[in-house]
């Protein structure tokens, strides 16, 4: 099946779940899991085929595999155009992985199971759509479609200040998409008002003066969701309020919607605007990296640490994208994938393995979990190592590339960004020590805890395998990314 079936399968799954009786909780879970696995299977199978295609230097049409391309609303020039290339295929795969593992980590949800998985799969379908859409209008439709379910998932199943966190997240996203909306309309009509197709728009870029003000609208609008400093404040509160699967999705996939939108809808379409603004973006990225890491260092809430670390790591993505060279940009795309996996794993440990059992996330109230929850400890060590950029994990490959790219742009940028690696190590090790070791201070409540369940183990292993495979064999992903980055750089003015 073609890759675009991931979208339809997810929608079908959501629809099917809505028809099931609300008391058949296990049936609902299994249907959701089956949907997720089917989606991942389709994505993975096609990914491998595409990888082989690239490795064998087979021809691509404009650098894409086109999946669907039909007139949708001719009177507006909107097409139903889906395609995959090296820039979005890793993210499609990421979405599949996070979907399956998210469902597994949500296995213990007992309240309103049916609605949970229906919203969850709708969100997943929307995200698949955003990643594959090659029409600006279609991309925007999927993008907004993905925002609403997040509100309900967080507000209904979340914890700490959930209604506030949910509303903040959705309003921030919508302020961002309002800017994108204005930018899209302006770009559309400045380009002649004929088509929303991004390949066409990229081929005939609009006048430089227009690009200079349209680009920041679209880039900034998407960057809100990517957690770019100073628009990042929704991210920690949203992550903390969200239930485990939703924080996994938020940090793992939804933030990538933002950075992917920046890349696909802003950078590829308005190269002159990009050149005009890229220093600004690079420094905002670096500020985000350092700010996120520094704030994470002083947090007392386990989940806030991970939330701010996401802001920090997404800064690497923005920095890499802004370098405008091969290493930096392909590192940025790889970092999107890598951080998606790492953040999912970290949130799974914090939210599902620890919080659901101990009912606290305060560092002071935890301790000694390495004895009671050894599997959680192992998972956290591995995810933490990947987060710190330990060689052997995907995070290392991605961040080193970004740093090389940044160094080529300016050694100062690279130096400032590299500083964060030490800070990251500090907050990860600090959390590791306080939560999992520090035995003498361990409160009595943490002595006896329910054991880690099978779905958790399966999901955690899946994520760890992904980390290690890409860490040890990065060319499985880097080659296809670099192929498309090269195409892009060749077309730069």
């Amino acid at each position: 099946m073609r890759t675009d079936w991931t979208i339809y399968v997810s929608f079908l799954g959501a629809g099917l779940i809505m028809l099931l009786p609300r008391n058949a909780k296990n049936l609902i879970r299994w249907v959701a899991l089956l949907t997720g696995v089917t989606g991942l299977g389709i994505a993975l199978q096609n990914y491998i085929a595409y990888n082989g295609w690239i490795a064998a230097n087979q021809p691509l049409k404009d650098g894409f595999w086109h999946l669907a391309n039909a007139a949708w609303i001719p009177s507006l020039g909107a097409r139903y155009h889906l395609a995959v290339d090296g820039l979005n295929f890793p993210l499609v795969l990421l979405n599949g992985i996070v979907c399956v593992t998210g469902i597994l980590f949500s296995w213990n949800i007992e309240e309103r199971v049916k609605e949970f998985f229906a919203f969850f799969l709708t969100l997943i379908a929307g995200v698949y759509g955003v990643f594959m859409a090659m029409d600006l209008f279609l991309l925007f439709v999927f993008y907004e479609l993905a925002i609403v379910p997040k509100y309900f998932i967080i507000a209904i199943w979340g914890s700490t200040r959930k209604e506030y966190g949910a509303m903040k997240l959705v309003l921030y996203s919508f302020v961002g998409s309002a800017a994108v909306f204005i930018g899209i309309l302006a770009a559309f009509f400045a380009g002649g008002g004929q088509t929303f197709d991004m390949l066409e728009l990229a081929r005939n870029p609009i006048a430089r003066e227009a690009q200079v003000w349209v680009f920041p609208l679209i880039f900034g609008g998407f960057a809100v969701l990517a957690g770019m400093w100073p628009f990042h404040t929704w991210a920690p509160t949203g992550h903390v309020a969200a239930p485990t699967a939703a924080s996994m999705l938020l940090a793992g996939v939804v933030m990538k919607l933002g950075s992917y939108g920046c890349l696909r809808a802003a950078m590829l379409l308005f190269p002159s605007g990009l050149v005009h603004w890229h220093w600004c973006i690079a420094w905002l990225g670096v500020i985000g990296i350092l700010y996120g890491a520094a704030v994470a260092l002083v947090q007392k809430d386990f989940k806030f640490i991970i939330g701010y670390s996401s802001v920090s790591h997404m800064g690497f993505v923005l920095l890499g994208l802004a370098t405008l060279n091969r290493d930096g940009m392909s590192g940025a795309v790889l970092q999107m994938f890598s951080h998606g996996i790492v953040a999912s794993l970290l949130f799974a440990v914090v939210g599902r393995m620890v919080y659901d059992r101990t009912h606290t996330r305060q560092l002071d109230e935890l301790g000694g979990l390495s004895k009671t929850l050894p599997f959680a400890c192992v998972t956290f060590v591995i995810a933490g190592a990947a987060s710190m950029g330990m060689p052997g994990f995907s995070g290392f490959v991605a961040e080193i590339q970004v740093l090389i790219g940044a160094f080529k742009m300016s050694p100062w940028l690279a130096a400032a960004a590299a500083l964060s690696i030490a800070v990251t190590a500090a907050y990860i090790l600090n959390a590791l020590h306080k939560v999992f070791y520090n035995d003498e201070q361990a409160p009595a409540a943490t002595h006896r805890l329910p054991r880690i369940t099978v779905p958790e183990v399966v999901a955690a292993v899946m994520l760890m395998v992904a980390l290690v495979v890409i860490g040890l064999y990065p060319s499985a992903m880097l080659d296809m990314i670099q192929a498309n980055v090269d195409i892009f750089l060749k077309g730069m003015p």
Binding site: S75, I147, V148, E163, A178, I182, F188
Partner: protein, 496 residues
């Protein structure tokens, strides 16, 4: 040009049928209903009204052969555009009848449905006329029927207050309209919109025209509830029986916007003006640009603090009038197309939303938002439909509301794609949509997130569910496949 009675009858056949049906419903209720209990009476009268509406839709098919033949003085116009809108209005009336059957409307069942049909007749006439006097008479027929319907909760003080307010404001605005029309007639010597348009072409600024135009805008602005002529709307919406609210908010809006398109774009085509950022020119586009901005601002910000669902929807509909006016400000064929498309989507959506309120509020104990807490558990199906309607109002894809808004904004940007002169209005509209999302989500939070005080299931009749589901399907289809109707409207509007 001689036109036979037969042709006039053919052009008026739907309206004639509806008059007969309305009288029939009155008689039927008098003869067969008096002794029965209320629910049964409503069912009988409702079924008759529904049947009548279905029959009145048939002649429209017959009229297609008559397309584009104007009757003398354009008192009655039959063309594909009017036929589409008559279909839409009949459908809206039918859906209103369906949700009314389930609603407590007091002891005067026959009169209620008859009034509903009279209102519908007025709307049909409004759509099919291009002549000032007929427009005015049709507008009055609609309005008076709606004033009466608003007061139908005889024992409720709010309903009486609402009706009186609605009536007083309406009467004054009618006076303005008539006064303005007299100036226009005096200036041009014509009552036919096309003749007026021709007479005004190239006349330039004329103080008399300005007075006439402003008075017409006041009169019609009241009907579409744009700021600053909106004051009646929240009270009338809240006080009226909810199905009537639905009809006021949808049927009457559709017809009024349709007539506004014709009056402005055909009759006053010479007095457009501009609301462009760097090139303000006096004319109706400038006036509407300002009122559009004011409507969006006031409607959205006032809606934030509402606790009553009907009032919230009332303010939201003021805001939506603002969005729709953006299409007028563009003053192009695309703008008119966008207005007409949005009006249809908007009507379906709002009818659905008010329909859900009409079905659930009496069973939940009131219209306050807190009564809707936990509704997702108590009435899952209607809650899901409400989610669709509210998200469409908020402009979330892939629903009709999103696409309608997109097209409106696109039309405004397109009309001056060199300088983007209307981008300020579009940007305001988009930012206000974000504001609107807040209060829509608060409403959805009550329905989906908050727990209910009382967990008992709410059962609603199947025909109400079916009617509302139909609206929801329409909203989705118009959002996902807008091309057919859009292309159709586009070709028809250009012929205007």
């Amino acid at each position: 040009m001689s036109v036979g009675y037969f042709q006039i009858f053919r052009a008026l056949s739907s309206e004639t049928t509806l008059v007969l049906v309305a009288l029939g419903v009155l008689t039927l209720d008098l003869v067969a209903g008096r002794k029965r209990e209320m629910a049964k009476r409503r069912e009988i009268a409702g079924a008759a009204a529904l049947f009548g509406l279905a029959v009145s839709a048939l002649p429209l098919i017959w009229q297609m052969g008559l397309a584009d033949v104007p009757l003398p003085g354009a008192t009655l116009v039959v063309n594909p555009l009017t036929i589409i809108f008559k279909f839409a209005l009949i459908a809206l009336a039918a859906l209103t009848v369906l949700i009314s059957v389930d609603h407590d409307i007091g002891a005067h069942v026959g009169e209620y449905f008859a009034m509903l049909l009279f209102g519908a007749i007025g709307m049909l006439l409004l759509v099919s006329s291009e002549e000032l006097l007929t427009i005015f008479v049709a507008l009055e027929l609609t309005s008076i029927s709606l004033y009466i319907l608003t007061a139908f909760h005889k024992n409720s003080l709010r309903s009486q207050e609402a009706a009186l307010k609605y009536f007083l404001f309406g009467a004054i605005s009618s006076a303005f309209l008539l006064f303005g029309l007299s100036y226009v007639y005096g200036l041009t010597g014509a009552t036919n919109l096309r003749d007026i348009g021709m007479a005004l072409a190239g006349k330039g600024a004329d103080p008399l025209l300005a007075v006439g135009l402003l008075c017409v805008l006041v009169g019609l602005g009241f009907k579409v509830a744009m700021v600053p002529f909106h004051l009646w709307a929240p009270d009338a919406y809240e006080g009226a029986p909810t199905p009537v609210t639905a009809f006021i908010a949808t049927g009457s809006k559709v017809a009024s916007f349709f007539v506004l398109v014709k009056v402005l774009m055909v009759g006053f085509a010479g007095a457009v003006g501009s609301a462009s950022w760097c090139g303000w020119q006096s004319g109706w586009a400038m006036v509407l640009g300002v009122t559009a901005a004011a409507s969006m601002l006031l409607g959205n910000f006032a809606a934030i603090v509402q606790h009553n669902v009907k009032r919230l929807l009332a303010y939201s509909s003021i805001a939506h009038a603002g969005y729709i006016l953006i299409g007028f400000v563009a003053a192009t064929a695309t703008g008119a197309t966008a207005v007409l498309f949005y009006v249809i989507v908007y009507a379906l959506t709002n009818l659905g939303a008010f329909g859900v309120v009409a079905a659930l509020a009496p069973r939940a104990g009131g219209n306050e938002m807190k009564r809707f807490s936990g509704m997702a558990k108590r009435a899952p199906f209607l809650s899901l439909l409400m989610l669709v309607f509210i998200l469409s109002l908020a402009g979330i894809p892939p629903l009709g509301g999103f696409f309608g808004k997109f097209y409106l904004f696109a039309a405004a940007v397109e009309c001056d794609s060199q300088h983007f002169g209307l981008l300020w209005l579009v940007a305001l509209g988009i930012v206000m949509s974000v504001v609107s999302l807040y209060y829509y989500l608060v409403l959805m939070k009550h329905i989906y997130v908050l727990p209910a005080k009382d967990d008992s299931r709410i059962k609603t009749p199947g025909y109400v569910n079916a009617a509302l589901a139909l609206c929801a399907v329409g909203v989705v289809v118009l959002g996902v496949f807008p091309e057919r109707i859009l292309a159709l409207l586009k070709t028809l509007v250009i012929r205007l």
